[in-house]
């Protein structure tokens, strides 16, 4: 009786959740464009893949000859569970308007509904491409029932994975509540883990290219026999299929039996989680800073821009999540770091160069890429002080320099121990400081072009992040400009005394550009601030 009622409620909740998600995803133009781009990208990829899949189907004589089937059959469920854990701990583990929902229906209905919505959404996202591939393959081998049987085989697997992922995700959330430090640690650990993954992927890339390593081999070693034969059940009714193995039947039975168990576990976990307090509620605190409220130490204290810059730095320490966008640097720099590990011999200059690039990047990216958006909560306050737009913009430049310049200066000098000739180390360090200034000034301008005000989910925290487009443009301009600058520095230092006219002209043009573009950008930022002041 209560079971039926819960299922009814769950269906309504699932429907409402899917509608909310769809409306949210198509709500504003930027999201729709993003979706279209993703669709176009994968859609065109799929279009090219389909004929190949069709041909593969035609060529396939036995189930065993389908490439990678075993590996994929094993890796896919594991990734489904991991994905579900991640989605739960990030999004669907906490329910919106819980005061309403939890006082209206039983928690079991909520869990069922949320999981149901998740399954439906995943079907919408992944079901279409998987269905197309299955259809193309089915046409290839001439077995029209394959898409249907494939769906029937995937559904229990998918439900099982989502349910247990949900239970695991809520378990993780409860653990974080218990040990808040662990969450912080995981966030940092996740960032640090990215670096080896990216560097590692470079290795694997080369290893695949020279055939010391093969994906097929890896997938074959991973293959778990019963899961493979379970997936082979999808070919039931075709010529490829003979008789179901005991393993396959066992897996099917396990999935069907374990899904309700997982549901029960998930419900218990969720009920405990929802009906107990968060001892340290994580409210998004976007507190206004008080410009004169605390003493800024020298050298920041001597000017008002310096004092505000000190405020930015203090806030950076107190609310590190506002700097989540800097993580993108790790992704971009990964390929640059990889060669160091591979070069034998003199790594000093490379380390020095990377130090300069990182320092320069940070000088602008840390505080400059969304100046209007970041300052908006404090605008009324800031505008009441006599600090003018110039002071506000300049304070962001100073704060950026305070982070970037030490890196750009000290790492080249430090790289002397790794073999950089002293002359080059000093040259890089000096040039690096100059680069930091130009980058910081450049950032405030392009950051003011497209201010972002709303908080959004980013790398697992709710925060205001600069526009992705702006971050990309900034990265490429600054990284490119810095590398060119360093190469020029290198050339000049090596050939000191005997510069050809061509090099001199190149250096001249470069200097002119790096001076004018950031300066113009800086002026633009001040103009944008002024329009706010006059409002």
């Amino acid at each position: 009786m209560t079971g039926r009622r819960d299922v009814h409620h769950a269906i309504r909740i699932a429907r409402a959740e899917v509608i909310r998600e769809l409306r949210g995803a198509t709500g504003d133009r930027r999201r729709v464009i993003g979706l279209l781009m993703v669709g176009l990208f994968y859609g065109s990829g799929l279009l090219f893949a389909l004929p190949a899949v069709y041909a593969l189907g035609q060529a396939t004589g036995t189930v065993q000859s389908i490439p990678y089937l075993g590996g994929i059959a094993t890796v896919a469920p594991v990734s489904m569970v991991v994905l579900s854990i991640f989605r739960t701990s990030q999004q669907i583990g906490t329910i919106d308007s819980e005061e309403l929902v939890l006082l209206t229906v039983h928690p079991r209905a909520v869990v069922l509904g949320v999981i149901g919505a998740e399954v439906v959404q995943s079907m919408l996202w992944f079901g279409v491409p998987i269905g197309l591939i299955a259809t193309a393959f089915a046409l290839g081998i001439g077995a029209p029932t394959l898409p249907v049987t494939a769906g029937l085989v995937l559904l229990p697997l998918f439900c099982w994975a989502t349910v247990w992922g949900y239970a695991g995700g809520i378990g993780m959330l409860r653990l974080f509540r218990w040990l808040p430090g662990l969450k912080q640690l995981l966030k940092i650990g996740w960032a640090l883990a990215l670096l080896p993954i990216i560097v590692g992927s470079q290795y694997i890339g080369t290893a695949i290219a020279d055939r010391t390593f093969s994906i097929a081999g890896l997938l074959e070693t991973l293959a778990f026999e019963p899961l493979q034969s379970y997936v082979e059940l999808a070919f039931v009714g075709t010529e490829l299929f003979h008789s179901p193995s005991i393993g396959a039947i066992g897996v099917l039975g396990g999935l069907v039996a374990l899904t309700p168990v997982g549901l029960a576990v998930a419900t218990r976990q969720a009920t405990t989680f929802w009906f107990t307090d968060d001892p340290a509620p994580e409210q998004p605190q976007r507190t206004e800073r008080s410009v004169g409220g605390f003493e800024a130490p020298q050298p920041f204290g001597s000017t008002s821009a310096g004092a505000i810059a000190w405020g930015h730095l203090v806030r950076a320490v107190r609310q590190p999540q506002e700097f989540a966008h800097l993580m993108i640097m790790l992704v971009m720099l990964g390929p640059a770091v990889a060669p160091i590990v591979q070069v034998d011999g003199n790594v000093g200059p490379i380390v020095a160069a990377i130090g300069v690039v990182v320092g320069t990047y940070l000088a602008g990216a840390a505080f400059g890429l969304n100046p209007l958006g970041d300052d908006r909560p404090a605008f009324p306050l800031l505008l009441l002080t006599e600090a003018g737009p110039r002071t506000l913009v300049w304070s962001r430049v100073i704060a950026g320099l305070a982070i970037g310049a030490p890196i750009a200066f000290l790492i080249p000098l430090g790289s002397i121990v790794a073999g950089t000739p002293a002359l080059f180390a000093v040259g890089f360090a000096v040039v690096g400081c100059g680069m930091c200034l130009t980058a910081a000034m450049f950032a405030v301008g392009i950051g003011a072009v497209y201010p972002i005000y709303e908080e959004q989910e980013y790398w697992g925290t709710e925060t205001v992040v600069p526009s992705t487009g702006i971050m990309m443009v900034y990265f490429w301009v600054v990284a490119g400009g810095t590398v060119i600058g360093l190469i020029l520095t290198w050339v000049v230092l090596t050939g000191a005394g005997s510069l050809s006219l061509l090099i001199a002209a190149g250096v001249g043009v470069y200097l002119l550009l790096t001076a004018l573009v950031p300066y113009g950008s800086y002026r633009y930022a001040i103009r944008r601030y002024r329009t706010y002041t006059l409002e």
Partner: protein, 255 residues
């Protein structure tokens, strides 16, 4: 007024205590509220009003003590759902829905038959001047419009106990009056209304009983008139004077 007639007790709180870490938010609070009563729950910011209401709904567990709603233990979630209506501080509505969709959704979850649900929803939308905007997304609503929508959804199922946390905050005078009228009507029909607010005239206008919470303790309880006179504020004393007198006296004895 605060007598105990066992059949008619709608809300019963016994020695409620709630601590967050080392902080005591609520310290042995007990009260008993009869059906058809409007209970004004007063207290300065941070006194523990919201905490009390969350305990009364079972959304939060007390450190010690018990709550019974119409004789049902509050952790019997299936039974409680149909007995209680709760309007929290921030209206629990979905921005992606329109007011009508939101209310229809709640009605569905509460198993109200579609026909009577539609009728009730239209009636309430009319009454709170929301009919014209009922099909716009809630994300475009003002704070007051969200508040009104959330109020309607909390009474849609005719609860026996209605808990309102600052129901009139952010409302214009007209809407605030509609809420007051609804509260009186519901109480006349037998609903116990537990009303937390800072706006003392609202309490004076509708409350049959008043409790004053200070720093997690229930320091005064009685009829509005009783509480007013208890504070010895002279003849033309209002509840506001009484409130200020009681709470400042408490603050003084705390030192």
């Amino acid at each position: 007024m605060v007598s105990t007639n066992a059949d008619a007790v709608a809300i019963e709180a016994n020695d409620l205590q709630k601590t967050y870490g080392t902080e005591t938010a609520l310290d042995t609070v007990s009260f008993s509220i009869e059906t058809g009563t409007v209970y004004g729950f007063l207290g300065p910011n941070g006194a523990g009003k919201t905490t009390t209401m969350r305990l009364l709904t079972g959304l939060t567990q007390p450190t010690s003590g018990t709550v019974r709603i119409c004789g049902t233990a509050v952790d019997d979630r299936r039974a409680i759902a149909s007995l209680v209506g709760y309007l929290p501080e921030t209206p629990p509505v979905y921005e992606a829905f329109s007011a009508r969709e939101q209310l229809e959704y709640v009605a569905e979850l509460r198993d109200i038959p579609a026909g009577s649900a539609t009728e009730r929803i239209e009636q309430y939308l009319d009454r709170f001047d929301l009919a014209d905007d009922a099909d716009k997304r809630i994300s475009t609503y003002s704070k007051g419009m969200k508040q009104k929508t959330a109020f309607i959804q909390s009474v849609l199922h005719d609860p026996d106990v209605l808990l309102l946390d600052e129901p009139t905050s952010g409302l214009d005078p007209r809407a605030a009056r509609r809420i007051r009228e609804s509260i009186t009507e519901l109480a006349d029909a037998g609903t116990a209304v537990f009303l937390s607010t800072h706006i003392l005239p609202v309490v004076e206008a509708v409350a049959d009983a008043v409790g004053v919470l200070f720093d997690g303790r229930l320091v005064t309880e009685g009829t509005p008139e009783g509480v007013t006179s208890l504070a010895e504020t002279g003849e033309d004393g209002t509840l506001e004077d009484a409130f200020l007198a009681v709470t400042s006296k408490e603050a003084a004895t705390d030192r």
